[in-house]
Symmetry: C2
Subunit: 311 residues, 2 copies
């Protein structure tokens, strides 16, 4: 039996902790303390990687590494409030449907989940489906992931299935004379695309023209795209999983890259605690999108008239 061991880059890939962090932790805290291979390079055991992943998860919940490192896996596991979802969240939810859907995911019943979702969509219509089902469910899934009561792959499964249902619904919307042109994307390192799809649903329902460029578009490319596509608004989404501290700098950089007349909107759970930034609109909830769009239209109604005349 071969004992699997991992190079520092593998660990970086699998844990999301940079090489710099892994080395400095080793220097400071003595953990992780990998053995060295024939070339003097670090070689991490599966156990260490597993422990690092646990630590990373707890850090996302607000714990600090200094307190976590040095604790055994058992102790770390006990910190995680595994049942925290059912306790507080169940009360907040008016509808049991969401719990049912979550359970389907946990049972890996992908076909059943898809069917249930499509049923909900048909029953509620896209707007209500997004606001009452997808959004709270996504939050719930996110929390479950933080808790460790949901595996990463289960979260991926959820994401993939939900993606399909929503995309189909968006595609079914009638096209027509849409305005304004909104470019939707996420920055590099932001994996989660559901927030973007939710935003797209809402915006498309409100009659905006959505140009979805998918995930992880490099900053400068966002600028290029906005220019080439003559977009009125660039909309970004940040999930809770995205490192908060990087966001302000990122947004300012992007603001500099974009033409001044292009509005920059950001949404997603990741920006909830963010301070205001000049010339950037923060839309923490889906409802804000609707009002923001209405306001934008009022402010730009002149141009619109002009545009229509030209047409």
């Amino acid at each position: 039996m071969i004992v699997p061991s991992f190079s520092i880059s593998s660990v970086e890939r699998d844990t999301g902790l940079t090489k710099d962090v892994l080395r400095v932790w080793e220097r400071r805290y003595g953990f992780p303390f990998p053995i060295r291979d024939a070339n003097g390079e670090r070689s991490y055991s599966s156990d260490q990687v597993e422990r690092l992943r646990l630590i990373k998860r707890l850090m996302n919940q607000g714990h600090r590494p200094g307190k976590l490192i040095g604790l055994s896996i058992e102790v770390l596991m006990s910190i995680v409030p595994r049942s925290a979802i059912t306790k507080q969240d169940k009360n907040e939810l008016e509808s049991k449907d969401i719990i049912t859907l979550l359970d389907l995911i946990k049972q890996h019943a992908s076909a059943g989940y898809k069917q249930a979702m499509q049923q909900q969509l048909a029953r509620l219509g896209l707007q209500r489906f997004v606001q009452d089902i997808v959004a709270p469910l996504t939050v719930l899934i996110g929390r479950a992931w933080e808790n460790g009561s949901l595996d990463v792959f289960e979260e991926h499964l959820f994401s993939e299935m939900t993606n399909r249902v929503m995309r189909m619904a968006i595609d079914a919307l009638p096209d027509g004379n849409r305005w304004p042109r909104i470019l939707l994307t996420t920055v590099s390192d932001e994996q989660h695309s559901l927030g973007l799809l939710m935003a797209e649903s809402i915006l498309a329902l409100e009659g905006a023209e959505c140009i979805s460029l998918g995930n992880q578009l490099p900053l400068l490319e966002i600028g290029h795209a906005a220019c080439a596509q003559h977009t009125d608004i660039v909309a970004l989404s940040f999930s809770t999983a995205f490192p908060q501290r990087q966001i302000p700098g990122l947004l300012k950089e992007l603001r500099n890259v974009l033409k001044p007349e292009v509005s920059l909107w950001t949404g997603g759970c990741g920006i909830a605690k963010l301070a205001k930034i000049d010339e950037i609109l923060l839309l923490p909830s889906l409802d804000d999108i609707v009002t923001a769009l209405a306001e934008w239209r009022v402010q730009h109604s002149n141009n619109m008239v002009l545009k229509e005349v030209v047409d």
Copy 2:
């Protein structure tokens, strides 16, 4: 007017060149040579970032950095064979439809593109659509991107739109008694998901049960997922953009993580030049998938009978 400047991490994000590479190039070749900010930290100009992106692109075409660095932007641009697509590739293509589609992308006519794709899908059926349209078009787009005749965001746009068309088609397939269970995903750092969707189309058409976990699943999670979902086969896709050298190590690592009875299949243009690896099936073309599946079924027909009896 604020002159935008970029930190070393921004440049890493935007160019895909690691911090280590950026620093060692500066030491060795004297480029990029960023100015230093008040803290002595590197601060790159837009020009340098642009030049780095060009260099990166040329490197993907096989050029070596030592020869490229030191050349001015103008010289670099002249190296790029901008019209290479239309020259050689047009002849290879029996159908003009693909060129038409490519042109639609280049004109950013997303609505028209989507419509044209759906039309092709309806005309050819999913199998032929994937093999005759999507696959060659993807290759073409990839080459155009390497050439620089296509912006990154245009490639994203293509990817996003094509994604939607294919997903819809896959969802429309009837479910039923499917076998074997195949888990589809890509590893971290692999951005491209179209290859996976093409594979899923083919496999689903052949009656396999596809569990798509989307993009960028960490290695260990692939193992967890395979176990939890009782998958028979794990299928990965590598695009040409994925760093070739990392693939063998990655696959061996994954092979170690997976149970021996689970088959590991890999496909995509990224593995075309790869040497054989023990216990890992390489499927360079979409046709190989069909034969591989047939073979697998023959080899595992006993288990299947057993399974059906249990049911």
